[in-house]
Amino acid sequence: MATAQMERPAAAAPPPPPVAPRKPMLSLGTMILLGTLVLWLILRQVFANKWNLPLAKADLTSLHTDLNTFNDWVGNNRNTNPIFVYFFNEIRLVVDNTSTFVTHLISKTDVGLGIPQIGWLGTFCILTFVAFAVSNWKMALLTAVVFFFIGLQGLWPATMDTLSLVFTSVLFALIIGIPLGIWAGTSDRVNKIITPVLDFAQILPSFAYLAPLVLIFLIGPAPAVIATIIFATPPAIRITAHGIRQVPVTTREAVDSLGVRRGQRLRNVLLPMAKRTIVIGINQTVMAALSMVVIASLIGAEGLGLSVSQALQSLDVGTAFNAGLAIVLIAITLDRVTTAASIRAEVAARAGSDRRRLRLIVIGVALVITVVAIYLSRIYLWAAQFPQASLPDLGTSISNGANNVTNWVTTNMSGFTTGFKNDFTNHVLNPFESLLTGSPFFVVGLVLLVIGALVGGWRVAVTVLICLAAMVYLGVWADAMSTLAATIVATIVVMILGLVFGVWMGRSKMADRILRPILDAGQTLPAFVYLVPFLALFQASRLTAIVAAVVYAAPASIKIIADGISQVSTNTIEAATASGSTRWQIITKVQLPMSAKALALATNQGLIYVLSMVVIGGLVGAGALGYDVVSGLAQGDLFGKGLAAGLTLVMMGIILDRITQAAANRSLGSSISPAIARRQSATVGN
């Protein structure tokens, strides 16, 4: 594994002294690495299962019991400690009130039949109307069809819960994110402070902050919304700032030279020119919030996410599929509508005044219809509750269909699926996992340290060392090694897919045109829906989590590699072809080396995506850290261990991110053009 990851950056790096011959420099790093790996294998045999820090599922370290005690202490002092009374509890109150308000409005109330303020017909019309107002009639039609279909699935109430969660979280995320993004976009200092924080938030697996949130905010809607806000705000900040920053310097200078005030510049120039990008940021924020609904259900969110997570945990594929399908449909709808809105943000200003007037009239009519629908939905029961009984019940059919397929697969294809599962588990996963879990902790640590030092120098090595020390201290080392094994195996598969499809897409416009929309669609789907089909194929096992992680992570890596390959200049390819290179030589000696940074970035993204997904696999029997986190949320006496497992995840994420980032920076830092040109002239000829 480590060879696959390490050799690439090492090969990508040019020889530091420009005049030095290339070969000895290349092999020095590789030799140290190979030596370390051989030493690892030897030590693994010599110290088999010694100092490997095992911990049984129910066992706790003293740190874990201390954390439990701390949890109890927080519970007892929640209403007296000033930090809680004046800060955390206030936040909780604001979030809770907003969330309750939205829930009462569209989902349910606590009185009588629990009918919401606005019944289904009203909400249905509002959603359709908003889709029309921000984009166009096609999107309005899509929205209407999808939400009616979801009603037929029998999921209207659950969907409204989910929408309340998403709406509340997105509201807060945008209120926080857009101003911060504007600030970061206009001030270099703020940008410098905020960027590392956002980078860190990005590598943070969402599972990691569930336990701390529960510690502070208890279980319930508030922490669920806050977890979603934490996950959904960074894209809003980042993309808004990016939108402001991409306004060309010339334009800024030009308006400055006209003597504009700062406020005028922001209002007349920066915001209008960043508008489209900011709407894309809203799109990303909505998608991020939606992708959290299942995870948020672990700490108290209701709705579709809860249906999915309960069904996943009880291995009820049919129910999980039905609810998962609804989430996918919502994801597609919200994505399409917000994307169309971002395009509209660009063209709206240019439409002729006649068209604009016509559109205003249509919007006015639609608004009247919507208001009438809201009124009806407050008066009549048929308009208040989705008339499930008088319409066909699609939900049961879908569940049954999914169950039938699952049963058919289990009975007819088990030879294949079970065979594949056993082969993969016994010949790939288990040996690798036992290499990691069976080695003394200091040996694994040393290997990671050497890799870190080789790729990123002493800075990265120090970071790795600190994180390793924290991992040992946190006491779930063995589980961390299992998760690491699954993560690395899945990432290797992702990189193989990335190389094959990325090179294909990078070289063929046709392939790019066919594959890219599929990959884009794949990336809009929330992570956990990938678990459902593989749960049907492979039951509850580590393989289910790994395959789901691969499918989840592959699109990002493939796209990064494809972009890297296609950015290699045509001149260079022509020069290589003119020197008589074969296609294989062009790929291996020109395109891949010149895409070294893209490869390193693809590995980085692959690892981060896989890590977050492998952990979610804890819901379906992947065990290890994911299981520790989930059980910590469910059982009070395992709380401390779950918290420790979450922190361990963070440490692991940092280690993997730092090493691969360093590899990526290194391929950039080597002043690409001369270095690559040199290497090229050395390789193209042969």
Binding site: T250, A254, V255, D256, S257, L258, G259, N268, K275
Partner: protein
């Protein structure tokens, strides 16, 4: 266009510095740096002196061209004039008032009313139509909608964009976009126009049109212009006077024929070596002492050599060169043919012209 320096300069640049880098403010006052070249300062301190101890005056109504290769600091210099880039040290005097000391609101006022700028990459607002782009400067001043549209319409017609008012920038060609940029700069009726390589991004033919446009506007409106370019032929075509910059420093300042006829150093000589001398130099540079036939034709001393060819070749003897009524020398066929033949060689003319009135300009080398 001929040199027309008047005693009341619009712009006076005094000891202007712009240094990029850490502790940049130490460089201008450090005597140890005075003798070093720009690249040496970079190596020694990590700071880049983009504009270095710059001194010059721009006369009212003059077209003043700053020329240099990329990286010579010319774009930084022009941005320092309105503090789009904050200078490190020195003075920028506009009609005697130091812009460097102006408060933010006073500076804004200067930018709104006195000095406008045209940019290489246009810097138009893509979400506004042509007329809204042109009137934007008036809008930020608080001019009412009907007034500013009226004024914008005038300027749009002035730059030949009539009929394109409702278009958006991306619907226009590069040349037309730059006309919008020009109209925007003119809309506020400023005293001074700054041009930062405005035509470098345009096709050669369109560039020629736009140069003609600038010459026409200057003739009609007589505004002071500071024009940045890296194109020598553009500089010679437009500039009353030309300042040559290198590594942030002033190398030479003078009229086109002074630069070509008497380059200050090898750098300038190399720069102007490709210029057809007969097109730029006047008879002043080749006239010899001597006597001409009293009945033969005479030519004014400011005549460009190429224009003198028919007369000189059509006359048997030497042709008299006069400054006003005074005969100051003669030119012969051989003098003219010599210049045309050797027109690509450097240093083939006597660097000292016939008269002592070389200082046509109050050359302001401090």
């Amino acid at each position: 266009m001929t040199a027309s320096a008047t005693p009341t300069p619009d712009f006076s640049i005094r000891n202007l510095w712009k240094v990029f880098g850490h502790r940049a403010d130490k460089i201008p006052t450090d005597p140890a740096m005075a003798t070093l070249t720009g690249p040496e300062i970079l190596e020694r301190t990590g700071c880049v002196p983009a504009v270095r101890d710059m001194n010059f005056d721009v006369a009212r109504g003059e077209v003043f061209v700053v020329m240099g290769l990329s990286g010579s600091g010319k774009s930084t210099l022009v941005r320092c004039l309105t503090r789009l880039i904050e200078p490190t040290a020195g003075q920028v005097l506009l009609e005697g008032q130091d812009i460097m000391k102006a408060s933010q609101s006073a500076l804004r006022d200067i930018r709104r009313k006195k000095i406008s700028m045209v940019f290489q990459h246009f810097g138009l607002l893509p979400h506004r139509s042509v007329i809204d782009n042109v009137s934007y400067g008036l809008q930020v001043r608080g001019t009412g909608k009907s007034d500013r549209y009226k004024r914008a319409q005038e300027v749009i017609e002035l730059v030949g964009l009539h009929g394109y008012e409702k278009r958006f920038p991306d619907q226009l060609s590069g040349g037309m976009q730059q006309r919008v940029g020009l109209a925007r700069a003119l809309a506020g009726d400023p005293d001074v126009l700054l041009f930062d390589e405005p035509f470098s991004a345009l096709d050669p033919l369109i560039r020629r049109d736009m140069q003609a446009e600038v010459i026409r506007l200057h003739r009609d409106m007589g505004k002071t212009m500071v024009f940045i370019t890296h194109d020598l032929s553009e500089a010679l075509k437009l500039g009353d006077r030309i300042l040559i910059m290198r590594h942030g420093e002033l190398v030479q300042i003078g009229t086109g024929d002074e630069l070509v006829g008497a380059p200050a150093d090898d750098y300038v000589a190399d720069f102007v070596s490709e210029v057809p001398r007969a097109d730029v130099l006047t008879l002043r540079w080749i006239a010899q002492p001597g006597e001409a036939s009293p009945t033969g034709p005479v030519l004014p001393v400011g005549t460009v050599i190429r224009d003198a060819i028919p007369t000189v070749l059509g006359t048997a003897g030497p042709v008299g060169v006069v400054d006003g009524d005074k005969l100051i020398g003669v030119v012969t066929r051989d003098d003219i043919l010599g210049i045309i033949n050797k027109s690509h060689a450097v240093g083939d003319v006597d660097p000292t012209p016939i008269t002592d009135s070389r200082l046509l300009e109050p050359a302001v080398l401090a």
